[in-house]
Protein backbone atom coordinates (compact mmCIF):
# COMPACT_ATOMS: atom_id res chain seq x y z
CA UNK A 1 0.00 0.00 0.00
CA UNK A 2 1.64 3.18 -1.10
CA UNK A 3 0.41 6.73 -0.99
CA UNK A 4 2.07 9.62 -2.75
CA UNK A 5 3.48 12.29 -0.44
CA UNK A 6 4.29 14.47 -3.37
CA UNK A 7 2.32 15.05 -6.52
CA UNK A 8 3.14 17.22 -9.46
CA UNK A 9 0.74 17.70 -12.35
CA UNK A 10 1.56 19.51 -15.52
CA UNK A 11 3.89 21.95 -13.80
CA UNK A 12 4.99 24.99 -15.81
CA UNK A 13 7.58 27.58 -14.85
CA UNK A 14 8.60 30.51 -17.05
CA UNK A 15 11.30 33.14 -16.67
CA UNK A 16 10.21 35.91 -18.99
CA UNK A 17 10.26 34.38 -22.46
CA UNK A 18 12.07 31.23 -21.37
CA UNK A 19 9.94 28.24 -20.43
CA UNK A 20 12.16 26.37 -17.97
CA UNK A 21 9.64 23.72 -16.96
CA UNK A 22 7.16 22.66 -19.62
CA UNK A 23 4.37 20.51 -18.21
CA UNK A 24 6.05 18.13 -15.81
CA UNK A 25 4.07 15.46 -13.94
CA UNK A 26 5.25 12.88 -11.43
CA UNK A 27 4.53 11.59 -7.97
CA UNK A 28 6.69 10.30 -5.17
CA UNK A 29 5.64 7.73 -2.58
CA UNK A 30 6.38 7.77 1.11
CA UNK A 31 9.85 6.39 1.82
CA UNK A 32 10.95 6.55 -1.79
CA UNK A 33 14.12 8.13 -3.16
CA UNK A 34 13.20 9.86 -6.36
CA UNK A 35 15.78 11.34 -8.69
CA UNK A 36 15.47 13.99 -11.36
CA UNK A 37 18.32 13.32 -13.74
CA UNK A 38 19.25 15.71 -16.48
CA UNK A 39 21.84 18.13 -17.79
CA UNK A 40 22.29 21.65 -16.45
CA UNK A 41 19.44 23.89 -17.54
CA UNK A 42 16.99 21.01 -17.89
CA UNK A 43 14.60 22.60 -15.38
CA UNK A 44 15.38 20.35 -12.40
CA UNK A 45 16.13 23.14 -9.96
CA UNK A 46 13.12 25.17 -11.05
CA UNK A 47 10.89 22.14 -10.47
CA UNK A 48 12.29 21.38 -7.04
CA UNK A 49 12.20 25.04 -5.97
CA UNK A 50 8.52 25.27 -6.82
CA UNK A 51 7.98 22.28 -4.52
CA UNK A 52 10.02 23.94 -1.75
CA UNK A 53 7.88 27.05 -2.03
CA UNK A 54 10.76 29.23 -3.21
CA UNK A 55 9.30 29.81 -6.66
CA UNK A 56 5.78 30.30 -7.90
CA UNK A 57 4.63 27.99 -10.69
CA UNK A 58 3.08 29.53 -13.78
CA UNK A 59 0.85 26.58 -14.39
CA UNK A 60 -0.14 23.14 -13.16
CA UNK A 61 -0.50 21.85 -9.65
CA UNK A 62 1.87 20.62 -6.98
CA UNK A 63 1.21 19.26 -3.52
CA UNK A 64 3.73 18.15 -0.91
CA UNK A 65 2.39 16.24 2.11
CA UNK A 66 -1.04 17.30 0.88
CA UNK A 67 -0.09 20.98 1.09
CA UNK A 68 0.05 23.57 -1.66
CA UNK A 69 3.47 25.29 -1.47
CA UNK A 70 1.94 28.68 -2.23
CA UNK A 71 -1.26 28.47 -0.19
CA UNK A 72 0.20 26.89 2.96
CA UNK A 73 3.87 27.91 2.88
CA UNK A 74 4.47 27.76 6.62
CA UNK A 75 2.82 24.40 7.18
CA UNK A 76 4.79 23.08 4.22
CA UNK A 77 8.08 24.44 5.51
CA UNK A 78 7.56 22.59 8.78
CA UNK A 79 7.26 19.31 6.86
CA UNK A 80 10.17 19.64 4.47
CA UNK A 81 13.92 19.95 4.64
CA UNK A 82 16.10 21.05 1.78
CA UNK A 83 19.64 21.45 0.61
CA UNK A 84 19.83 24.17 -2.00
CA UNK A 85 22.10 23.99 -4.99
CA UNK A 86 24.25 26.60 -3.27
CA UNK A 87 23.82 27.08 0.45
CA UNK A 88 25.28 30.16 2.00
CA UNK A 89 25.32 31.35 5.56
CA UNK A 90 26.89 34.38 7.20
CA UNK A 91 30.69 33.99 7.28
CA UNK A 92 30.98 34.67 10.98
CA UNK A 93 28.33 32.21 12.08
CA UNK A 94 29.66 29.22 13.99
CA UNK A 95 28.60 25.69 13.07
CA UNK A 96 26.82 25.02 16.35
CA UNK A 97 25.11 28.42 16.19
CA UNK A 98 23.86 27.79 12.68
CA UNK A 99 22.19 24.53 13.56
CA UNK A 100 20.75 25.86 16.80
CA UNK A 101 19.47 28.96 15.02
CA UNK A 102 17.57 26.89 12.49
CA UNK A 103 16.32 24.51 15.15
CA UNK A 104 14.77 27.58 16.76
CA UNK A 105 12.47 28.15 13.79
CA UNK A 106 10.54 24.88 13.99
CA UNK A 107 7.98 23.33 16.29
CA UNK A 108 9.39 19.82 15.92
CA UNK A 109 13.16 19.54 16.10
CA UNK A 110 15.91 16.97 16.31
CA UNK A 111 18.72 17.33 18.75
CA UNK A 112 21.27 19.66 17.12
CA UNK A 113 24.25 18.06 18.91
CA UNK A 114 23.25 14.64 17.74
CA UNK A 115 23.00 15.88 14.17
CA UNK A 116 26.45 17.43 14.36
CA UNK A 117 27.85 14.18 15.69
CA UNK A 118 26.17 12.17 13.01
CA UNK A 119 27.51 14.37 10.24
CA UNK A 120 31.02 14.37 11.64
CA UNK A 121 30.95 18.06 12.48
CA UNK A 122 31.50 17.80 16.20
CA UNK A 123 35.11 18.91 16.03
CA UNK A 124 34.10 21.83 13.84
CA UNK A 125 31.29 23.03 16.07
CA UNK A 126 33.14 26.20 17.05
CA UNK A 127 34.41 26.97 13.56
CA UNK A 128 33.07 29.88 11.58
CA UNK A 129 31.14 29.01 8.45
CA UNK A 130 33.81 30.55 6.23
CA UNK A 131 36.46 28.29 7.75
CA UNK A 132 34.75 25.10 6.58
CA UNK A 133 35.77 23.09 3.53
CA UNK A 134 33.31 22.47 0.71
CA UNK A 135 32.49 19.02 2.04
CA UNK A 136 31.98 20.28 5.58
CA UNK A 137 29.69 23.03 4.34
CA UNK A 138 27.64 20.48 2.46
CA UNK A 139 27.43 18.20 5.51
CA UNK A 140 26.28 21.16 7.57
CA UNK A 141 23.68 21.96 4.91
CA UNK A 142 22.42 18.38 5.18
CA UNK A 143 22.37 18.51 8.98
CA UNK A 144 20.42 21.78 8.82
CA UNK A 145 17.96 20.25 6.37
CA UNK A 146 17.19 17.53 8.91
CA UNK A 147 16.87 19.77 11.94
CA UNK A 148 13.05 19.73 11.79
CA UNK A 149 12.92 15.97 11.20
CA UNK A 150 11.23 16.57 7.84
CA UNK A 151 8.88 14.14 6.10
CA UNK A 152 10.28 15.04 2.71
CA UNK A 153 13.87 15.97 1.99
CA UNK A 154 14.85 17.87 -1.15
CA UNK A 155 18.45 17.65 -2.28
CA UNK A 156 19.37 19.84 -5.20
CA UNK A 157 22.62 18.58 -6.77
CA UNK A 158 23.90 17.45 -3.37
CA UNK A 159 27.36 16.50 -4.62
CA UNK A 160 27.96 18.96 -7.44
CA UNK A 161 31.42 20.47 -7.29
CA UNK A 162 32.67 18.16 -4.53
CA UNK A 163 35.70 15.94 -4.91
CA UNK A 164 35.16 12.17 -5.31
CA UNK A 165 35.97 11.29 -1.72
CA UNK A 166 33.54 13.83 -0.30
CA UNK A 167 30.97 12.71 -2.82
CA UNK A 168 31.19 9.18 -1.48
CA UNK A 169 30.74 10.52 2.05
CA UNK A 170 27.56 12.25 0.99
CA UNK A 171 26.35 9.06 -0.70
CA UNK A 172 26.82 7.16 2.53
CA UNK A 173 24.74 9.74 4.35
CA UNK A 174 21.96 9.61 1.77
CA UNK A 175 21.97 5.82 1.84
CA UNK A 176 21.58 5.95 5.59
CA UNK A 177 18.62 8.30 5.27
CA UNK A 178 17.18 5.93 2.71
CA UNK A 179 17.37 3.09 5.21
CA UNK A 180 15.49 5.28 7.66
CA UNK A 181 12.71 5.46 5.06
CA UNK A 182 12.92 9.19 4.51
CA UNK A 183 11.22 10.39 1.38
CA UNK A 184 13.89 12.06 -0.69
CA UNK A 185 13.70 14.00 -3.94
CA UNK A 186 17.08 14.70 -5.44
CA UNK A 187 18.29 16.28 -8.63
CA UNK A 188 21.54 15.33 -10.23
CA UNK A 189 23.45 15.32 -13.44
CA UNK A 190 25.63 12.43 -12.27
CA UNK A 191 24.57 9.08 -13.65
CA UNK A 192 26.14 7.06 -10.87
CA UNK A 193 24.35 9.14 -8.27
CA UNK A 194 20.99 8.36 -9.83
CA UNK A 195 21.81 4.66 -10.31
CA UNK A 196 23.24 4.20 -6.87
CA UNK A 197 20.82 6.16 -4.73
CA UNK A 198 17.45 6.35 -6.41
CA UNK A 199 14.54 3.95 -6.26
CA UNK A 200 13.03 5.75 -9.20
CA UNK A 201 14.53 8.13 -11.72
CA UNK A 202 12.90 10.59 -14.08
CA UNK A 203 15.03 11.84 -16.92
CA UNK A 204 14.53 15.51 -17.60
CA UNK A 205 15.62 17.50 -20.61
CA UNK A 206 14.57 20.91 -21.94
CA UNK A 207 11.92 21.31 -19.25
CA UNK A 208 10.22 17.97 -19.91
CA UNK A 209 10.30 14.50 -18.41
CA UNK A 210 11.31 12.21 -21.21
CA UNK A 211 11.36 8.91 -19.33
CA UNK A 212 10.88 7.57 -15.84
CA UNK A 213 11.08 4.31 -13.96
CA UNK A 214 13.44 2.37 -11.73
CA UNK A 215 17.05 2.50 -12.95
CA UNK A 216 16.65 -1.15 -13.97
CA UNK A 217 13.50 -0.52 -15.96
CA UNK A 218 15.10 2.35 -17.76
CA UNK A 219 18.13 0.31 -18.67
CA UNK A 220 15.99 -2.58 -19.89
CA UNK A 221 14.27 -0.14 -22.18
CA UNK A 222 17.44 0.28 -24.07
CA UNK A 223 17.69 -3.47 -24.55
CA UNK A 224 20.04 -6.08 -23.26
CA UNK A 225 22.72 -5.17 -25.71
CA UNK A 226 26.35 -4.46 -25.03
CA UNK A 227 27.76 -1.13 -26.13
CA UNK A 228 30.90 -0.66 -28.12
CA UNK A 229 32.05 2.89 -28.01
CA UNK A 230 34.62 3.52 -30.71
CA UNK A 231 36.52 6.54 -31.91
CA UNK A 232 37.74 6.44 -35.47
CA UNK A 233 40.47 8.33 -37.28
CA UNK A 234 38.07 9.23 -40.10
CA UNK A 235 34.29 9.50 -40.01
CA UNK A 236 32.34 6.50 -41.18
CA UNK A 237 28.70 6.38 -42.36
CA UNK A 238 26.36 5.13 -39.61
CA UNK A 239 24.45 3.04 -42.16
CA UNK A 240 27.59 1.08 -43.00
CA UNK A 241 28.29 0.44 -39.32
CA UNK A 242 24.72 -0.79 -38.79
CA UNK A 243 25.23 -3.39 -41.54
CA UNK A 244 28.14 -5.02 -39.70
CA UNK A 245 27.69 -8.51 -38.34
CA UNK A 246 26.52 -8.58 -34.73
CA UNK A 247 25.67 -4.87 -34.66
CA UNK A 248 22.04 -4.02 -33.97
CA UNK A 249 22.28 -0.26 -34.06
CA UNK A 250 24.83 2.49 -34.45
CA UNK A 251 24.64 6.04 -33.06
CA UNK A 252 26.95 8.97 -33.33
CA UNK A 253 27.58 10.86 -30.10
CA UNK A 254 30.08 13.69 -29.80
CA UNK A 255 32.26 12.38 -32.58
CA UNK A 256 32.31 8.82 -31.22
CA UNK A 257 30.21 5.93 -32.46
CA UNK A 258 28.18 3.79 -30.12
CA UNK A 259 27.41 0.35 -31.52
CA UNK A 260 24.74 -1.77 -29.87
CA UNK A 261 25.55 -5.41 -30.28
CA UNK A 262 23.99 -8.67 -29.25
CA UNK A 263 27.28 -10.54 -29.60
CA UNK A 264 30.42 -8.61 -28.91
CA UNK A 265 33.22 -10.71 -30.38
CA UNK A 266 31.87 -11.03 -33.96
CA UNK A 267 30.98 -7.34 -33.91
CA UNK A 268 34.54 -6.36 -33.08
CA UNK A 269 35.94 -8.64 -35.73
CA UNK A 270 33.63 -7.32 -38.42
CA UNK A 271 34.32 -3.74 -37.34
CA UNK A 272 38.06 -4.20 -37.61
CA UNK A 273 37.74 -5.82 -41.03
CA UNK A 274 35.51 -3.03 -42.22
CA UNK A 275 37.92 -0.35 -41.03
CA UNK A 276 40.84 -2.07 -42.71
CA UNK A 277 38.94 -2.25 -45.96
CA UNK A 278 38.14 1.47 -45.72
CA UNK A 279 41.68 2.48 -44.79
CA UNK A 280 40.29 3.86 -41.52
CA UNK A 281 41.95 3.56 -38.10
CA UNK A 282 40.59 2.63 -34.70
CA UNK A 283 41.53 5.34 -32.18
CA UNK A 284 39.84 3.87 -29.12
CA UNK A 285 37.40 1.14 -28.22
CA UNK A 286 35.41 0.66 -25.07
CA UNK A 287 33.03 -2.10 -24.11
CA UNK A 288 30.23 -1.27 -21.71
CA UNK A 289 26.98 -2.67 -20.43
CA UNK A 290 24.06 -0.28 -20.78
CA UNK A 291 23.89 2.52 -18.22
CA UNK A 292 21.47 5.35 -17.63
CA UNK A 293 23.82 7.45 -19.69
CA UNK A 294 22.99 5.27 -22.71
CA UNK A 295 19.32 5.72 -22.02
CA UNK A 296 19.88 9.45 -21.96
CA UNK A 297 21.90 9.37 -25.16
CA UNK A 298 19.26 7.31 -26.93
CA UNK A 299 16.50 9.65 -25.86
CA UNK A 300 18.26 12.91 -26.60
CA UNK A 301 21.16 12.10 -28.90
CA UNK A 302 23.44 13.95 -26.48
CA UNK A 303 25.66 13.11 -23.59
CA UNK A 304 24.58 14.15 -20.11
CA UNK A 305 27.81 15.91 -19.30
CA UNK A 306 28.90 18.33 -21.94
Amino acid sequence: MTNPVLQVENLVKRYGEVEAVRGVSFSVDEGEVFGLLGPNGAGKTSTIEVLEGLRVADGGRATVCGLDPQKNPNELKNEIGAVLQATSLPDKLRVSEAIRLFAGFYKRTRNPNELLRRFGLEEKRHSFYNQLSGGQKQRLALAMALVNDPRVLFLDEPTAGLDPQVRREIYTIIEELKREKKTIVLTTHYIEEAEKLCDRVAIMDHGKLIASGTPRELKQRSGDTTRLEVRLAKPAPKEALRQLEGVADALEVDGAYVLHCQRTAPAIVSLVKYLEAQGNELVSLEIATPSLEDVFIELTGRRLRD
Partner: protein, 296 residues
Amino acid sequence: MRTILTLAAVRIRITLRNKAFLFFSLIMPMGIFFLYGSVFAKGKPEAVAYLMGPILSFTVMGTFWGLSMQLVTWREQGILRRFRLAPIAPSSMIISSIMANYLLIMPTVILELLLARFIYHVTAFGNLISVFVLVILGITAFGAMGLVVASVTNTAQETQIINQLLWFALIFLSGATVPLAVLPHMVQRIGLFLPATYFVYGLQRAMLADAQLYTLGTVVVSLLAWAVLAAFISSQLFRWEPEAKLPRNAKLWAVATILPFLLLGIWENHNGKLLATAAYMMEGRPTENTPPADKR
Protein backbone atom coordinates in the same frame (compact mmCIF):
# COMPACT_ATOMS: atom_id res chain seq x y z
CA MET B 1 8.17 35.78 18.81
CA ARG B 2 10.69 33.04 19.53
CA THR B 3 11.82 33.28 15.91
CA ILE B 4 12.39 37.03 16.25
CA LEU B 5 14.39 36.65 19.46
CA THR B 6 16.51 33.81 18.05
CA LEU B 7 17.24 35.84 14.95
CA ALA B 8 18.03 38.98 16.94
CA ALA B 9 20.45 37.10 19.19
CA VAL B 10 22.32 35.62 16.23
CA ARG B 11 22.43 38.98 14.46
CA ILE B 12 24.01 40.55 17.52
CA ARG B 13 26.69 37.88 17.65
CA ILE B 14 27.51 38.08 13.98
CA THR B 15 27.62 41.87 14.07
CA LEU B 16 29.96 41.92 17.07
CA ARG B 17 32.36 39.71 15.10
CA ASN B 18 32.40 42.19 12.26
CA LYS B 19 35.33 44.60 12.40
CA ALA B 20 33.58 47.19 10.24
CA PHE B 21 30.81 47.30 12.80
CA LEU B 22 33.20 47.94 15.66
CA PHE B 23 34.69 50.76 13.69
CA PHE B 24 31.44 52.43 12.75
CA SER B 25 29.62 51.99 16.02
CA LEU B 26 32.36 52.29 18.56
CA ILE B 27 35.57 53.80 17.25
CA MET B 28 34.00 56.42 15.00
CA PRO B 29 31.43 57.63 17.57
CA MET B 30 34.18 57.78 20.19
CA GLY B 31 36.36 59.77 17.80
CA ILE B 32 33.54 62.20 17.26
CA PHE B 33 32.85 62.35 20.97
CA PHE B 34 36.41 63.35 21.82
CA LEU B 35 36.73 65.65 18.83
CA TYR B 36 33.59 67.54 19.85
CA GLY B 37 34.31 67.40 23.54
CA SER B 38 37.97 68.37 23.57
CA VAL B 39 38.40 70.42 20.40
CA PHE B 40 35.07 72.12 19.75
CA ALA B 41 33.88 72.41 23.33
CA LYS B 42 37.42 72.73 24.75
CA GLY B 43 36.28 70.50 27.57
CA LYS B 44 33.86 73.10 29.01
CA PRO B 45 30.95 71.24 30.61
CA GLU B 46 28.20 73.59 29.28
CA ALA B 47 29.61 73.42 25.76
CA VAL B 48 29.91 69.63 25.93
CA ALA B 49 26.31 69.45 27.14
CA TYR B 50 25.25 71.53 24.15
CA LEU B 51 27.11 69.17 21.80
CA MET B 52 25.78 65.96 23.36
CA GLY B 53 22.72 66.14 21.06
CA PRO B 54 24.83 66.09 17.88
CA ILE B 55 27.19 63.46 19.35
CA LEU B 56 24.36 61.07 20.23
CA SER B 57 22.72 61.76 16.86
CA PHE B 58 25.84 60.61 15.07
CA THR B 59 25.86 57.38 17.02
CA VAL B 60 22.18 56.67 16.50
CA MET B 61 21.91 57.73 12.87
CA GLY B 62 24.87 55.53 11.96
CA THR B 63 22.64 52.48 12.55
CA PHE B 64 21.26 52.56 9.06
CA TRP B 65 24.64 51.70 7.52
CA GLY B 66 25.00 48.34 9.16
CA LEU B 67 21.38 47.36 8.74
CA SER B 68 21.15 48.15 5.06
CA MET B 69 24.49 46.54 4.25
CA GLN B 70 23.64 43.38 6.13
CA LEU B 71 20.28 43.01 4.43
CA VAL B 72 21.62 43.61 0.95
CA THR B 73 24.65 41.33 1.32
CA TRP B 74 22.59 38.56 2.87
CA ARG B 75 20.29 38.77 -0.12
CA GLU B 76 23.11 39.08 -2.63
CA GLN B 77 24.98 36.05 -1.23
CA GLY B 78 21.88 33.87 -1.10
CA ILE B 79 21.82 33.72 2.70
CA LEU B 80 18.22 34.94 2.79
CA ARG B 81 17.21 32.06 0.50
CA ARG B 82 18.38 29.58 3.11
CA PHE B 83 16.35 31.42 5.75
CA ARG B 84 13.37 31.37 3.45
CA LEU B 85 13.30 27.55 3.52
CA ALA B 86 12.33 27.81 7.18
CA PRO B 87 8.95 29.14 8.30
CA ILE B 88 10.03 32.75 8.82
CA ALA B 89 7.96 35.80 7.92
CA PRO B 90 9.61 38.86 6.31
CA SER B 91 8.40 40.89 9.27
CA SER B 92 10.45 38.65 11.61
CA MET B 93 13.55 39.37 9.57
CA ILE B 94 12.88 43.11 9.76
CA ILE B 95 11.88 43.34 13.40
CA SER B 96 14.79 41.15 14.54
CA SER B 97 17.31 43.35 12.74
CA ILE B 98 16.01 46.54 14.35
CA MET B 99 15.77 44.82 17.72
CA ALA B 100 19.37 43.69 17.48
CA ASN B 101 20.33 47.27 16.81
CA TYR B 102 18.78 48.51 20.07
CA LEU B 103 21.18 46.30 21.95
CA LEU B 104 24.13 47.07 19.70
CA ILE B 105 23.79 50.86 19.82
CA MET B 106 22.58 51.42 23.36
CA PRO B 107 25.92 50.59 25.05
CA THR B 108 27.68 53.25 22.96
CA VAL B 109 24.99 55.81 23.85
CA ILE B 110 25.33 55.01 27.55
CA LEU B 111 29.12 55.06 27.32
CA GLU B 112 28.99 58.53 25.75
CA LEU B 113 26.75 59.82 28.51
CA LEU B 114 29.04 58.35 31.17
CA LEU B 115 32.17 59.74 29.55
CA ALA B 116 30.54 63.17 29.36
CA ARG B 117 29.77 62.92 33.05
CA PHE B 118 33.16 61.69 34.22
CA ILE B 119 35.62 63.17 31.74
CA TYR B 120 34.00 66.49 30.93
CA HIS B 121 32.11 66.83 34.22
CA VAL B 122 28.75 67.46 32.63
CA THR B 123 26.36 67.41 35.54
CA ALA B 124 22.97 68.11 33.98
CA PHE B 125 21.66 65.78 31.27
CA GLY B 126 18.14 67.22 31.25
CA ASN B 127 15.32 64.80 30.89
CA LEU B 128 16.91 61.39 30.47
CA ILE B 129 13.58 59.67 29.85
CA SER B 130 13.03 61.89 26.84
CA VAL B 131 16.60 61.27 25.73
CA PHE B 132 16.19 57.49 25.84
CA VAL B 133 12.79 57.50 24.18
CA LEU B 134 14.23 59.62 21.40
CA VAL B 135 17.26 57.34 21.05
CA ILE B 136 15.01 54.28 20.74
CA LEU B 137 12.79 56.04 18.25
CA GLY B 138 15.86 57.15 16.33
CA ILE B 139 17.34 53.66 16.15
CA THR B 140 14.01 52.35 14.88
CA ALA B 141 13.44 55.13 12.39
CA PHE B 142 16.94 55.40 10.91
CA GLY B 143 17.26 51.60 10.93
CA ALA B 144 14.00 51.23 9.03
CA MET B 145 15.25 53.84 6.58
CA GLY B 146 18.33 51.65 6.00
CA LEU B 147 16.08 48.66 5.32
CA VAL B 148 14.15 50.67 2.74
CA VAL B 149 17.43 51.58 1.05
CA ALA B 150 18.42 47.90 0.98
CA SER B 151 15.01 47.05 -0.47
CA VAL B 152 15.28 49.36 -3.46
CA THR B 153 18.89 48.49 -4.30
CA ASN B 154 20.20 45.25 -5.74
CA THR B 155 23.85 45.19 -4.83
CA ALA B 156 26.00 46.20 -1.88
CA GLN B 157 27.66 48.75 -4.16
CA GLU B 158 24.42 50.51 -4.97
CA THR B 159 23.47 50.49 -1.32
CA GLN B 160 26.80 52.10 -0.39
CA ILE B 161 26.28 54.93 -2.84
CA ILE B 162 22.81 55.77 -1.57
CA ASN B 163 24.00 55.42 2.02
CA GLN B 164 26.79 57.94 1.43
CA LEU B 165 24.40 60.47 -0.07
CA LEU B 166 21.93 60.05 2.76
CA TRP B 167 24.64 60.16 5.39
CA PHE B 168 26.09 63.44 4.15
CA ALA B 169 22.65 65.01 3.98
CA LEU B 170 21.84 63.76 7.46
CA ILE B 171 24.99 64.97 9.14
CA PHE B 172 25.67 68.24 7.34
CA LEU B 173 22.21 69.70 6.84
CA SER B 174 20.75 68.79 10.20
CA GLY B 175 22.86 70.56 12.77
CA ALA B 176 24.73 67.40 13.71
CA THR B 177 28.06 68.77 12.47
CA VAL B 178 27.60 72.51 12.26
CA PRO B 179 24.89 73.82 14.60
CA LEU B 180 21.67 74.51 12.76
CA ALA B 181 21.63 78.11 14.00
CA VAL B 182 24.85 79.04 12.20
CA LEU B 183 24.05 77.30 8.93
CA PRO B 184 23.14 79.56 5.99
CA HIS B 185 19.47 80.38 5.90
CA MET B 186 18.90 78.37 2.72
CA VAL B 187 20.49 75.28 4.24
CA GLN B 188 18.42 75.70 7.40
CA ARG B 189 15.29 75.69 5.29
CA ILE B 190 16.35 72.48 3.55
CA GLY B 191 17.32 70.98 6.88
CA LEU B 192 13.76 71.39 8.07
CA PHE B 193 12.75 68.63 5.67
CA LEU B 194 15.16 66.13 7.23
CA PRO B 195 14.28 63.80 10.09
CA ALA B 196 17.84 64.20 11.36
CA THR B 197 17.23 67.88 12.08
CA TYR B 198 14.29 67.09 14.34
CA PHE B 199 16.22 64.30 15.95
CA VAL B 200 19.19 66.52 16.85
CA TYR B 201 16.84 69.28 17.94
CA GLY B 202 14.75 66.91 20.06
CA LEU B 203 17.81 65.54 21.84
CA GLN B 204 19.13 69.04 22.52
CA ARG B 205 15.79 70.23 23.85
CA ALA B 206 15.59 67.18 26.11
CA MET B 207 19.10 67.65 27.42
CA LEU B 208 19.39 71.43 27.60
CA ALA B 209 15.85 72.51 28.38
CA ASP B 210 14.81 69.43 30.30
CA ALA B 211 12.01 68.97 27.77
CA GLN B 212 9.33 66.47 28.71
CA LEU B 213 8.20 64.00 26.09
CA TYR B 214 4.88 65.77 25.53
CA THR B 215 6.53 69.11 24.86
CA LEU B 216 8.53 67.33 22.18
CA GLY B 217 5.27 66.07 20.68
CA THR B 218 6.00 67.14 17.12
CA VAL B 219 9.41 65.49 17.12
CA VAL B 220 8.21 62.29 18.75
CA VAL B 221 5.12 61.92 16.59
CA SER B 222 6.92 62.66 13.35
CA LEU B 223 9.79 60.26 14.11
CA LEU B 224 7.30 57.61 15.15
CA ALA B 225 5.19 58.10 12.03
CA TRP B 226 8.32 57.93 9.90
CA ALA B 227 9.58 54.79 11.65
CA VAL B 228 6.25 53.00 11.24
CA LEU B 229 5.94 54.03 7.61
CA ALA B 230 9.51 53.01 6.75
CA ALA B 231 9.20 49.66 8.57
CA PHE B 232 5.91 48.98 6.81
CA ILE B 233 7.33 49.85 3.40
CA SER B 234 10.45 47.77 3.95
CA SER B 235 8.29 44.77 4.82
CA GLN B 236 6.24 45.35 1.66
CA LEU B 237 9.35 45.57 -0.48
CA PHE B 238 11.19 42.73 1.25
CA ARG B 239 12.86 40.38 -1.25
CA TRP B 240 14.42 37.04 -0.31
CA GLU B 241 15.84 36.20 -3.69
CA PRO B 242 18.85 37.90 -5.23
CA GLU B 243 17.27 37.79 -8.68
CA ALA B 244 13.81 38.89 -7.56
CA LYS B 245 12.92 42.01 -9.48
CA LEU B 246 11.88 45.19 -7.81
CA PRO B 247 8.21 45.87 -8.32
CA ARG B 248 7.84 48.76 -10.73
CA ASN B 249 6.33 51.08 -8.13
CA ALA B 250 8.93 50.20 -5.47
CA LYS B 251 10.86 53.42 -5.85
CA LEU B 252 7.62 55.35 -5.48
CA TRP B 253 6.96 53.48 -2.26
CA ALA B 254 10.43 54.34 -1.05
CA VAL B 255 9.91 57.98 -1.89
CA ALA B 256 6.69 57.86 0.13
CA THR B 257 8.84 57.57 3.25
CA ILE B 258 9.74 61.24 2.93
CA LEU B 259 6.08 62.24 3.36
CA PRO B 260 5.97 62.84 7.13
CA PHE B 261 8.99 65.12 7.04
CA LEU B 262 7.94 66.78 3.83
CA LEU B 263 4.75 67.91 5.53
CA LEU B 264 6.51 68.82 8.75
CA GLY B 265 9.19 70.66 6.78
CA ILE B 266 6.61 72.78 5.02
CA TRP B 267 4.94 73.54 8.33
CA GLU B 268 8.17 74.41 10.15
CA ASN B 269 9.44 76.49 7.27
CA HIS B 270 6.21 78.40 7.48
CA ASN B 271 6.16 79.11 11.22
CA GLY B 272 9.90 79.20 11.91
CA LYS B 273 9.53 78.15 15.52
CA LEU B 274 12.15 75.41 15.46
CA LEU B 275 14.78 77.63 13.88
CA ALA B 276 14.17 80.31 16.48
CA THR B 277 14.48 77.83 19.32
CA ALA B 278 17.63 76.36 17.82
CA ALA B 279 19.16 79.83 17.63
CA TYR B 280 18.11 80.52 21.20
CA MET B 281 19.64 77.25 22.47
CA MET B 282 22.86 78.14 20.73
CA GLU B 283 23.34 81.66 22.10
CA GLY B 284 21.23 81.86 25.17
CA ARG B 285 21.71 80.24 28.49
CA PRO B 286 20.07 76.88 28.19
CA THR B 287 17.64 77.01 31.06
CA GLU B 288 14.34 75.49 31.91
CA ASN B 289 12.66 78.75 30.93
CA THR B 290 10.53 78.58 27.87
CA PRO B 291 12.38 80.03 24.94
CA PRO B 292 10.82 83.16 23.43
CA ALA B 293 9.54 81.40 20.35
CA ASP B 294 7.41 79.14 22.49
CA LYS B 295 5.59 82.10 24.04
CA ARG B 296 4.28 83.11 20.65
